[in-house]
């Protein structure tokens, strides 16, 4: 029997999950604006510019982490090139923001400053249409998705997987970084895009704009979370997990892994593009260093810290690592790399399921405390099992695993 769409949509999150999501949105859409705009700056309840920007930035990273978790945690594809898709989205939207500067740049030209500097007279062809918000919004989705689709199609078709795939994604983003570093490429070279003035005619630095951008980012994150949750709990998600855990078997049953992998890979890239587009107006700069190998690997670490194969884990990991980074780079800049390095090692060695796994272990420990269990409650072998076993399937109505859906 087929259940209605709303019914299935509702069960993607548990009632508690829906409540938490609603609370999160309430804070971001109402609490923060109120505390930022209405409460005077001197008051201890006032939320400062810094906090609003930082929150927006971290939420963008959380969105990237969810996108990363979709491919790594649920499809077993470790990408070391997600920074590229993030940056492509950022650049696509940055083009629009650059055009919004109009003649307010330091050269008072209709062209962006760096083009005046290069002595260019007209916009290159790929800048055509960048004046229009909707065209930019389209590019934000289309460019990363197209790059990912083409790259992924060839990679998955030749059945490249594991570390080989990771390495060539790294080579891809490295090549793109070199390309964007060139001044002649037409994206501002080394400095990238910065000094934005307006978005849709409103000042980028105005408190109201910041609050609205934060709100849009929170909505995007919440939407992505629900979409991702729905995807991974659907039949599609279970085929994906099968491909991850035993690709050959999934093929023998009759599924073509190419399209499953390609879909999740392309979707993930497009989500990264959205995150990049939201990141640029809030942080105020986009440059090729976002495509460095280090930036992409850091994304993988957020997911690993939070717990891969768990969407909430990805968000928690991104928030935790980035808040730690903000604190470290201000307080002990020289120790940040040490901390990050040890974090990489400690998480992979001792927390294969990340913070979420730790939380589950603690919960299990408290639950079984009456039975006088020793710490750790679970032997180490069990924690090293494929992550699939930890994804608790929600009560989805059972659909037979055939290609034809019952009417």
């Amino acid at each position: 029997m087929r259940t209605s769409f709303t019914e299935r949509a509702l069960v993607t999150l548990s009632p508690g999950g829906w409540r938490a999501l609603a609370a999160f949105l309430a804070v971001m859409l109402m609490g923060v604006p109120l505390l930022h705009l209405a409460v005077p700056a001197g008051s201890p309840l006032h939320v400062s510019d810094y906090v609003v920007t930082l929150t927006g930035k971290v939420l963008c990273y959380a969105l990237v982490a969810v996108a990363m978790d979709l491919v790594w945690g649920y499809a077993g594809i470790l990408s070391l090139g997600h920074g590229l898709f993030f940056a492509l989205g950022g650049y696509a939207f940055g083009m629009y923001l650059m055009r919004q500067i109009g003649t307010d740049g330091s050269y008072h030209s209709t062209l962006p400053d760096f083009m005046v500097f290069l002595d260019w007279k007209t916009l290159p062809w790929y800048w055509q249409g960048s004046d229009h918000f909707w065209w930019a919004a389209f590019l934000v989705l289309a460019v990363p998705a197209l790059v990912a689709f083409v790259f992924g199609y060839f990679a998955f078709q030749s059945r490249i997987k594991g570390v080989y795939f990771s390495i060539i994604t790294q080579a891809l983003t490295y090549a793109a970084m070199l390309l964007f570093f060139r001044n002649e490429t037409g994206f501002g070279g080394n400095n990238g895009f910065t000094d934005f003035k307006r978005i849709l005619g409103y000042s980028v630095t105005a408190p109201e704009t910041r609050v609205v951008l934060l709100g849009v980012t929170s909505l995007a994150l919440a939407g992505t979370l629900v979409l991702a949750r729905w995807l991974v709990t659907s039949r599609f998600g279970r085929v994906l997990a099968a491909v991850r855990d035993a690709e050959s078997r999934a093929m023998f049953i009759g599924y073509n892994p190419l399209w499953y992998k390609l879909f999740i890979w392309t979707l993930s890239a497009a989500l990264c593009g959205i995150a990049g587009a939201l990141y640029v107006p809030q942080v105020g700069i986009i440059n090729p260093s976002e495509m460095s190998a280090a930036a992409s690997i850091e994304i993988a670490v957020w997911v690993a810290v939070g717990g891969r194969g768990s969407l909430i884990g990805a968000i928690v990991g991104a928030i935790a690592v980035n808040l730690a980074k903000s604190w470290f780079t201000v307080s002990f800049p020289q120790y940040w790399l040490f901390f990050l390095g040890f974090l990489f090692i400690a998480v992979t060695l001792f927390l294969p399921e990340g913070l979420v796994g730790l939380w589950r272990r603690v919960q299990a420990h408290w639950a079984k405390r009456g039975e006088a269990m020793e710490w750790p409650p679970a032997p180490l072998e069990e924690t090293a099992k494929p992550v699939a076993s930890t994804v608790v399937p929600p009560p989805v109505p059972v659909v037979p695993l055939t290609e034809e859906r019952p009417a």
């Binding site: 490249i160 080989y164 990771s166 080579a171 490295y174 690993a304 040490f338 990489f344």
Partner: protein
Amino acid sequence: MKKLLFALLLACALPAWSALDPAVVHKLADDDSDQKIAAIQQLAQSVDPVAERLLKALSEDGVYVSGDTVFFSEGDKPVDAVTGKVIATPASNDSISINNRVRGVLDGALAGVKLFDPDAAVRLAAARALQEKVTPELIPLLTRAAKAETDAKVAPVIVQLLAQANLKNPDPVARLVAVQALAESASPNTRSLLLPLTDPATEKDDKVRAAAQTSLRAIDGKLAWGENLGRVFTGLSLGSILLLASLGLAITYGVMGVINMAHGELLMVGAYSAYAVQSLFRHYLPGAIDWYLPAAVPVAFFSAAIVGMVMERTVIRWLYGRPLETLLATWGISLILIQGARTLFGAQNVEVANPSWMSGGIALLPNLVLPWNRIVIIGFALSVLLLVWGLMNKTRLGLFVRAVTQNRPMAGCVGVPTQRIDTLAFGLGAGIAGLGGLALSQIANVGPEMGQGYIVDSFLVVVLGGVGQLAGAVYAALGLGIVAKFLEGWAGAVIAKIIVLAIVIVFIQRRPQGLFALKGRFADS
């Protein structure tokens, strides 16, 4: 008696014969630069040795006027410019100053005078120096020099010079001969000299234009040789660096299936060992500073090897069967090593100097110089390769390493201590990376982040060559190096890099197992 008389006569005649024309000498003191230039050119034609001394003094601003006497100082003594004899110091004097235009002519004239030096080496050097600033005014001098020249090495250079000078001769026949003679040259300079002669706007004579085209083609052919050989050479040198960087990686990846993202930082450890040894030599053995590099070889190998073995024992060993996590953990190690280098040696690049025996190079062709440091690195890479090959194929350790690479459980069953082999293999791979870093310190900047730039490249080499294949790594490294350098000549460094990455990505898609795939039962495991 007659002989004595003759000798006396000769002695009287000599001073008269050796004196310069006073009118010419006095023109030097003229305020007009054109007059000065004319005087210098006339002096340059003179066979009198005083002329050379005078011109040399003039180039050192040591010529003075006192009333009617022009004199120059030579070893703090005033010498009369006309007679070449030491005179009493005049009461007053004005220095003759020359501007840049005059100085250019003067330098040419001085080099022209040196063309008649008895020493062939001096003549050759003078002729080489003249190549840059030959003018039509030098034609009579050069003709004389060409006639007088007997040395087989110097003669062709002077003939070239004469041809160069004749290019602007108003007589088309002289130009034609000159253009044809220049076809023998292989210098980029001659090319730019001939180029205007192919243009109808500057050259009216059809025959000369046609001859210039032919000569240009001949020169281009020779230049292309030099350029292409140069590219092959720089490609080999880049390839040998890539080889040193990736040999170690090929071993660790082959044996343990582990992607070591900290491999670039092992290069850095090697490079910093070179720096440390250099500093020690500067401090304690300044006399033997040229020999710090051989002393740094074992230091670089063992320091990197120790870092590698510690990594293997503490982290990588615990992550077997989880290649993706190993990738993250080793990246963490690389961050710690980078920050460690920053804390120890500072965030700035440190200076590692080439020993004096590595500076300079061999000039094979006018546009091809092979620098010694690159030659040494190619030789070093070759010897490391030989050593590794011997180690892998002729020793017990190598046998065990190959056994573990092919089939770990079976090797363990027949008594190979797989865990110890892992540690040793990792140490070996890391040590070779240290040697690569040592080589790198001689041609690249040494800084905390130097390893990051090589990690992607060395992975591409390993992946391209096929996992666990030394031969594959060799072909892939040298091939990538040479292809990269040729593309660089054609499209510029950045585009070349992007094209190489694109080629490798496409290649891996076609042949995921690399150039030299393992065949048989374990190929797909």
